[in-house]
Amino acid sequence: MAGVQVANLSRSFGAHKALDDVSIDFADGGFYALLGPSGSGKTTLLRQIAGFDFPDSGRIAIGGEGVERVPVEKRRIGMVFQNYALFPNMSVADNVGFGLSVRRQAKATIAGEVQRALDLVQLGKLGGRRPHQLSGGQRQRVALARAIVTKPRVLLLDEPLGALDKALRVDMQIELKRIQREIGITTIFVTHDQEEALTMSDRIGILRDGRLVQEGPPEEIYDRPKSEFAATFLGDANIFRGETTGAGIRLPDGTAIAAGAGATLAAGTKASCAVRPERIRIATDSGTPDPNANLLRGQVSKRIFAGSNSTYFVDRDGQTLKVIVQNTGVERLAEGQEVVLRWSPESTVLIAAG
């Protein structure tokens, strides 16, 4: 077991910068998600850590040992591929035992280790099956067992749950997390599914165009996004753009929005504020005025009912704001209704213009 340090890593393919000066510290035993849209460089980064491809510059260390020029087969990593990549010509047990067998371990040792790994992923009785006889979720577990049976220093997962349907994916998320805790292995996984990243990982790294945009625990990134991209890519956000006043921003129409969190900026520069849709309260009248709260007036243009909650789209001064409200059954607003939006400065994050 070991931590992974990536420092100033760059890799270009022709004129395209797939990775641009990326540095992340993956602590020992942690569960990391690399999140980003397609083409952001997250898969390239994973393949660099795995050793399928070497960087143009920068360093990769596993357990303190520099490995950036070590080929994949010597790196002692475990990897789970998007489509599992189970060897079709081998049984489940032979698949899981492959890594031990190429290291020329004794047959009896292999059999024991394979059984332990299969038990861990709850497939103890299926060792004799062929991959094509398994369901998607079972294949996923076999791929996981195969990756961890060699006791790798780090476990790399490339969109491991992408090929599963929604219900199975949630089961596997829980299962994956349980197994990771049980063996305590440093785990890095690539996903484009923000919900998956939020629910599973200890820390998240968001990538965009080959650069690391923000890195930290899920709550921190969600509550304190440092860029408009981070705010809108991880979860939903309403963005207001204007000039800083020091304690918030002033919109072009003169409305002031107070921000209780985020960057500290000199007054007068361009900046934006991000507010999560569920933090905004929506009402038909001003109600009890709270002098500290931000307040805006608008008109409901659309309402989408989604069972436990409803999303209101509120038009205001050429901007459409999104508000998510729990369906308590008390109040339903009609489309076209004039409304008042209110939220606290603590829920408002000040972001430097990017």
Partner: protein, 262 residues
């Protein structure tokens, strides 16, 4: 939908007529090889004397052995070299790859008359001359493109992540190839090998230009015999050849889908 029925019925009938056209001469030849009359006269009287007399024909027997030996050796060489080249073409990207792939087609597309006479000229020029070695050189070259095309077709169905998965589990290049890649492409390699055998065993034109009186193959020997005059012995040996090569292709069909997937 009566017209549809009728048209389909006509279609089936047509296919059977085509099959008759394709197989009748072969069947008649086979029958005649069991007929007593050396001038193919009817009525038909059963005999195996022509097959028996084949055993006395030393020239035919030695030519047969040459054919078999050359076919086996060129199959082995063409299959090994061709599969290796297919793997290289599959795994690596480099400039000129398209050219290398295009170079496989001249041996298939240029008439054997041209290739055969060109080989004759060149082998003479560099001192290899004619004979079994020259024939072997030629047969391997003719078979190689077939092997590469068939094995490459099989490799197209191979997922590259499998090789990556094996490497991530610590397998070296040789272990990746022998334990993951080769088992997957094996049907293609076997089909390619059977093709190579058929190309060599049935090859007449190139062998014809490269053989010498003592060093010749069965088809060349048969051609010489036909030009001297027909004998039921030629029927007999021809029947054997056609049965062998058709059996070979039926075997190949087990490993290689000619009609594409559906």
């Amino acid at each position: 939908m009566a017209t549809t029925r009728f048209l389909e019925w006509c279609g089936r009938l047509y296919i059977w007529l085509l099959l008759a056209f394709l197989y009748l001469p072969i069947i008649i030849m086979a029958l005649m090889s069991f007929n007593v009359s050396p001038f193919y006269q009817l009525p038909f009287e059963w005999t195996t004397e022509w097959y028996a007399s084949l055993w006395q024909n030393d020239q035919l027997i030695s030519a047969t052995w040459n054919s078999i030996k050359i076919a086996i050796i060129s199959t082995i060489i063409a299959t090994v070299l061709g599969s290796a080249a297919s793997l290289a073409l599959y795994r690596h990207e480099f400039r000129g790859k398209k050219v290398l792939q295009a170079l496989l087609f001249p041996p298939i597309a240029i008439p054997w008359l041209i290739t055969g006479t060109a080989m004759l000229i060149f082998f003479f020029g560099v001192g290899i001359g004619r004979g079994l070695f020259a024939i072997l050189l030629g047969h391997v070259a003719l078979a190689l493109p077939y092997v590469i095309v068939v094995v490459s077709a099989r490799l197209q169905t191979f997922a590259p992540e499998l090789e990556e998965a094996a490497r991530s589990l610590g397998a070296n290049q040789w272990q990746v190839t022998s334990r993951v890649t080769l088992p997957w492409i094996m049907p293609g390699v076997i089909a390619g090998g059977l093709f190579a055998f058929a190309v060599s065993f049935d090859q007449f034109v190139v062998s014809y230009f490269l053989s010498t009186p003592g060093q010749t193959t069965l088809p060349v020997e048969i051609y010489a015999a036909i030009r001297k005059g027909f004998t039921p012995e030629i029927n007999a040996v021809s029947t054997i050849i056609i049965v062998v090569s058709m059996a070979l292709m039926l075997l190949t069909a087990r490993f290689f889908k000619f009609g594409g997937e559906k």
